[in-house]
């Protein structure tokens, strides 16, 4: 059974098998527990990715007011007047055009992550975009996208057998005409592109088997798209017909292309589409020149307009989700391929740079500022760049793990560097909504060893236990003489509920004792083998 399917059950006995040291270890489904604490089930959760194409100038977006003197030296021709900065804290503020995001911050619905980048940052738009979308190291080349790889974990056989009753809708949707490389899976793209959810058009397919040639390869590809388009179009149309936007804050169509896109996203989610990830875009951030007005105030001009659109679009979207009563199901994240240079150029612009802030928003976003203000050299030169505080993959890990409840093996496959150099998740999801790696709520549970079931048994039984925190765990079985006859767990385990099967074939009937040792916690229970 696949993970996502089991999460839909509310009967607690359903579990996913994990093979651990030759033993069948299972982690329990978490839907029962989530029902108890009232959090949103993992399979109802949606992620919205907002790509800011071109490289957003982070220093004029999230302004480090405590570095103002150094900023004045480095970028006086584009620097925002400190008095106009929208304060989040005494030392940190937003660009004056981002009033909506300031309001969301105050309401605890906006998290700002400072200094997001990766080791050895790349200054090419195309390479840096590839890195962000594929989730690769700076010096590695991946042909698949990070979100695509994750979706391939959740929906392994896709597109074969899709759509189906469990997943009737596209796994991921790009609002636009080009599917993001971030959705590229190992074999096919896991995403669909949509500009108008109401439009469908009959497409002729084809059924014979094309030859094993390049032409046959491309023909197969086009036919696959034709068939998928046909298969999904009715569901999308139905969702579009059913979903009605409720916010009055959206600008009129065509005024703010990002708001137009997010409006469609809200409509589709409200209409019941089960799609997991949406990608939307706002372009124009490559502000080499005239980033600010060359004649007027520095808080006007190209960048001010862009940030104003970004803020207004997210604000309207959040308002819509709230009015629709689905705001606890959706989190969104902005990203851009890089930030820009500390020192501005003489054309009232900035050249390609490195680290930049990322916004994470939503009712279940853990509002606040993560990380510290960047430190600006007192006399920044053209070669000076901001240093990294968070690896961008930390954010992906957080979203997959804490928002979608991805398992460690899913994380390892989705974030390819994770197995060798695991970047930690960061606290971006509210603890009440965050999941841990075994799909449990992060809300603390006590460590406890349960009575095995069945008991008495022959020859196999199931032993359950919960861990309040992750750590090294030993689960062993002794006979009445105190001699160990089986060691069922002897390794590091994540917090949450666990279940393990013990097969006692070959051992004589009688009483045995099983012991859970986890840090200072120790509990012993008795079980009966009756042959």
């Amino acid at each position: 059974m696949k993970r996502r399917e089991f999460l839909q059950y509310t009967i607690p006995a359903v579990s996913i098998p994990l093979l651990l040291g030759g033993m069948s270890l299972t982690a329990f489904g978490r839907s029962r527990m989530l029902n108890n604490i009232g959090a949103v089930a993992a399979n109802d959760r949606v992620l919205v990715l907002i790509q800011l194409n071109g490289g957003n100038d982070g220093l004029n977006t999230v302004i480090p007011l405590d570095q103002y003197a150094a900023l004045t030296v480095a970028r006086s021709n584009i620097l925002i007047d400190a008095a106009k900065v929208l304060k989040l804290t005494a030392a940190t503020g937003l660009h004056p055009s981002m009033t909506g995001l300031q309001t969301m911050y105050t309401a605890g619905k906006l998290a700002v992550v400072q200094g997001v980048s990766y080791p050895s940052p790349n200054l090419s738009h195309f390479r840096a975009t590839d890195i962000w979308l594929t989730g690769s190291d700076s010096n590695k080349y991946l042909s698949t996208g990070w979100a695509g790889r994750y979706l391939n974990e959740e929906f392994a056989s896709y597109p074969t057998g899709y759509p189906n009753t469990t997943m009737p809708d596209p796994l991921a949707i790009q609002i636009g005409s080009v599917v993001s490389p971030g959705f590229q899976g190992p074999a096919v793209s896991m995403g669909m592109a949509i500009t108008d959810p109401n439009s469908t058009y009959l497409l002729p397919g084809g059924s014979d088997t094309p030859p094993n040639t390049p032409a046959g390869h491309e023909l197969t590809f086009v036919r696959q798209i034709a068939q998928q388009t046909q298969a999904y179009s009715s569901g999308i149309k139905a969702a579009a017909a059913k979903g009605k936007n409720k916010s009055v804050l959206y600008p009129s169509a065509g005024q703010n292309l990002l708001a137009d896109q997010l409006k469609i996203v809200a409509q589709l989610i409200a209409g019941g589409l089960k799609t997991k990830i949406y990608m939307v875009n706002l372009g124009g951030f490559d502000t080499h020149s005239a980033q600010v007005s060359t004649s007027g105030s520095t808080d006007t001009g190209t960048h001010a307009t862009l940030l104003g659109k970004l803020s207004a679009a997210i604000f309207a979207f959040q308002d819509d989700l709230t009015l629709l009563g689905i705001d606890d199901r959706v989190v969104g994240m902005t990203f851009s391929e890089f930030g820009r240079r500390i020192k501005s150029n003489a054309s009232f612009g900035t050249d390609h740079g490195t680290a930049a802030p990322v916004f994470l928003f939503g009712s279940n976003a853990n509002g606040g500022i993560l990380g510290s203000n960047p430190s600006i050299p007192s006399n920044a030169g053209t070669g000076d760049n901001l240093s990294m505080q968070f690896d961008y993959r930390s954010l992906y890990v957080t979203l997959l793990k804490n928002w979608f409840g991805a398992s460690p093996s899913m994380l390892a496959n989705a974030i390819t560097s994770y197995a060798s150099t695991p970047v930690p998740a960061v606290s971006l999801i509210k603890p009440s909504a965050a999941l841990d790696v075994s799909g449990q709520s992060l809300a603390p549970v006590s460590t406890v060893l349960e009575q095995n079931y069945p008991n008495p048994f022959n020859p196999a039984t199931q032993i359950q236990f919960s861990l309040a925190s992750s750590g090294y765990v030993v689960l062993s079985v002794c006979n009445v003489n105190g001699r160990e006859v089986a060691r069922l767990v002897d390794r590091h385990l994540e917090a949450g509920q666990h279940s393990i099967q013990w097969n006692a074939a070959g051992l004589p009937s009688g009483a045995y004792f099983y012991t859970l040792q986890a840090g200072s916690f120790r509990q012993v229970r008795k079980l009966m083998l009756m042959k």
């Binding site: 194409n53 050895s120 790349n122 200054l123 090419s124 738009h125 195309f126 390479r127 700076s138 010096n139 080349y141 042909s143 698949t144 596209p170 636009g176 005409s177 080009v178 599917v179 490389p181 590229q184 074999a187 793209s189 669909m192 592109a193 949509i194 469908t200 058009y201 009959l202 497409l203 002729p204 397919g205 084809g206 059924s207 014979d208 094993n212 040639t213 390049p214 032409a215 046959g216 390869h217 491309e218 023909l219 590809f221 086009v222 798209i225 034709a226 998928q228 388009t229 999904y232 179009s233 490559d286 080499h288 020149s289 150029n345 003489a346 054309s347 612009g349 050249d351 390609h352 053209t382």
Partner: protein, 535 residues
């Protein structure tokens, strides 16, 4: 960039025919293949024309120099200060006495004009090469903001389309349109702007390799980006109005030029561009350095290969096709025509494994479909003509290829974005739109049917329409299915009865409609088939 990423390609049979001259049969199939890849269409008359030649003769014809394009984009809106029917390319930007700014109208006029040139292309490689260079030296009409510069840029591309690559880079480097697009016009001694210096190397000439150490992209370094930017300091775009006429060009301001020496990295053999002599000529020294690197020729040859043959370049192709083409390019001092001639006359190009494997880009698809359907566009009413051309441009934009406005300086992702490359053109949004557009084009299906050898025979119609429209052959089942769309559930001869009834009374609307709607359904369906997406 990973060139081999499309999963499953490794198991495909790939051509192992090299660049040796093609010596197989020359027929309608080979002629159509050549025409599909080098022109928009093709038209049946073009196939017939080339079929009668040899491979070499056909390629000679396609590469033959054409006279310079004489048409210019025209004003088609009376709100422009330039009267309707006259060109605005040398006019002042706007009427100083009016608040109306015609820049948007002129941008659309430029776009329409460009589409018109492609629709009315002659039997020549030129227009497809212009589009190739537009993708390569990508600039955006909207971003540049002054279509008079973009017009000159388009003229530059067209003039040099089959000319010398190095010379084209030389002219592009001081082209006002490019200076505006990549901020060369703000690149000065005191405040260098790296934008053009970077893209020149990353995208236009030598290409970016893997980052082998911090800031070293195999072929060049971050320091080389900065050094190159300094070479270009002092150049800017220039416009001067005189009455209603304006001069639109670029100029070199020596006082803004950095006249110190420019040191390049070990990737370029530690070469130096010596400053302080003639600042404007330093560009030649820089290009000599870049073009002395073997990688530069290979980089453009890979792009040509992806444009004309297929996107997957495996090790075999790199060694046996790209490297020798690059040698030809360098051996001919960067003249492009000998390389194209070698490729288009090669056994590799005509190998059945290299046919029908290109996914048509939107312009190839739409301009080709308009031409194949012989869509009639007025040539006397300029306003109507420009509107029709602009409507094609709008359709191409909706399926992601906006001529004049590629998405960014790297051009269209289909030509660089691994692993999907050309497959990026086709998705759940663009494929239905493609079908919708072609459906509307089939309004004279009778004329097309009449061009077949035996239009009274439905099997012949299907056979010959498939040969004309598809680069890939259909199976017997598919043909049977298509025949059935023409005569659903009826014996073949029933079509002959209907057709002959029409021929006997060709002005009778009922009889016309009887065959017309059936043919429309058939051709519309065929152009909506996945097979029609392939070239």
């Amino acid at each position: 960039m990973n060139t081999n990423a499309n999963e499953g390609l490794q198991t495909l049979r790939r051509s192992t025919a090299g660049l040796e001259p093609y010596s197989g049969v020359w027929d309608a199939g080979t002629a159509s293949h050549l025409l599909r890849r080098t022109t928009f269409g093709p038209l049946r008359s073009d196939i017939v024309a080339l079929q009668q030649k040899t491979a070499s003769g056909a390629v000679d014809l396609l590469l033959a120099p054409l006279p310079e394009e004489t048409s210019q984009p025209l004003s088609v809106d009376s709100r422009d200060i330039v009267p309707v029917g006259q060109t605005w390319v040398d006019a002042i930007a706007k009427d100083p006495l009016s608040t109306f700014n015609p820049v948007g109208l002129r941008m659309n006029s430029l776009r329409s004009w460009w589409i018109g040139l492609m629709l009315n292309q002659q039997l020549s490689l030129r227009e497809k090469m212009v589009l190739f260079w537009h993708n390569h030296f990508s600039t955006e009409v909207n971003s540049v903001g002054d279509p008079r510069f973009t017009y000159r840029h388009a003229v530059l591309l067209r003039k040099n389309a089959l000319g010398n690559y190095k010379e084209l880079v030389r002219q592009i480097s001081t082209d006002g349109n490019m200076l505006r697009y990549l901020n060369g016009n703000t690149n000065t001694k005191t405040s260098p702007n790296e934008n053009y210096g970077r893209e020149l190397q990353e995208l236009f000439t030598i290409g970016k390799g893997p980052e082998i150490s911090s800031g070293d992209y195999t072929n060049y370094t971050e320091a080389d980006v900065k050094a190159a930017a300094r070479v270009f300091t002092g150049w800017k775009d220039f416009t001067q109005a005189d009455g209603t006429v304006s001069a639109v060009t670029s100029v070199f301001d020596a006082t803004k030029h950095d006249s110190a020496n420019k040191q390049f990295s070990a990737d370029y053999g530690s070469a130096v561009v010596t400053g302080g002599v003639d600042g404007a000529k330093e560009i030649d020294d820089l290009l000599n350095i870049i073009f002395s690197q073997p990688e530069t020729a290979k980089y453009i040859c890979r792009k040509l290969y992806r444009w004309f043959v297929y996107y997957a370049i495996d090790d075999w192709t790199e060694t046996n096709i790209i490297a020798p083409l690059a040698a030809t390019l360098r051996g001919n001092n960067y003249n492009i025509a000998p390389v194209l001639r070698q490729l288009f006359t090669s056994a590799h190009f005509y190998d059945p494994l290299n046919r029908a494997c290109m996914i048509k880009n939107p312009i190839d698809f739409l301009v080709g479909a308009y031409r194949q359907c012989q869509v009639a566009i007025s040539s006397t009413d300029i306003a109507k003509q420009y509107t029709a051309w602009l409507s094609l441009w709008t359709q191409a934009t909706a399926i992601e290829m906006s001529v004049g406005d590629p998405p960014n300086v790297a051009g269209w992702p289909a030509y660089y974005q691994a692993p999907q490359f050309h497959e990026l053109w086709i998705n759940s949004d663009t494929l239905p739109k493609r079908r919708k557009y072609t459906d509307a084009l089939v309004y004279d299906p009778i004329a097309l049917a009449k061009s077949f050898s035996d239009p009274g025979n439905p099997a012949v119609i299907v056979d010959e329409a498939a040969q004309f429209l598809f680069a890939i052959s259909l199976t017997a089942t598919q043909k049977e299915f298509l025949k059935n769309t023409l005569i659903p559930g009826l014996p073949d001869y029933e079509w002959g009865v209907e057709w002959n009834a029409y021929l006997a009374d060709p002005t009778n609307q009922t009889k016309i409609n009887a065959v017309k709607t059936k043919l429309q359904t058939l051709f519309g369906f065929m152009m909506g088939m996945p097979e029609y997406q392939l070239s």
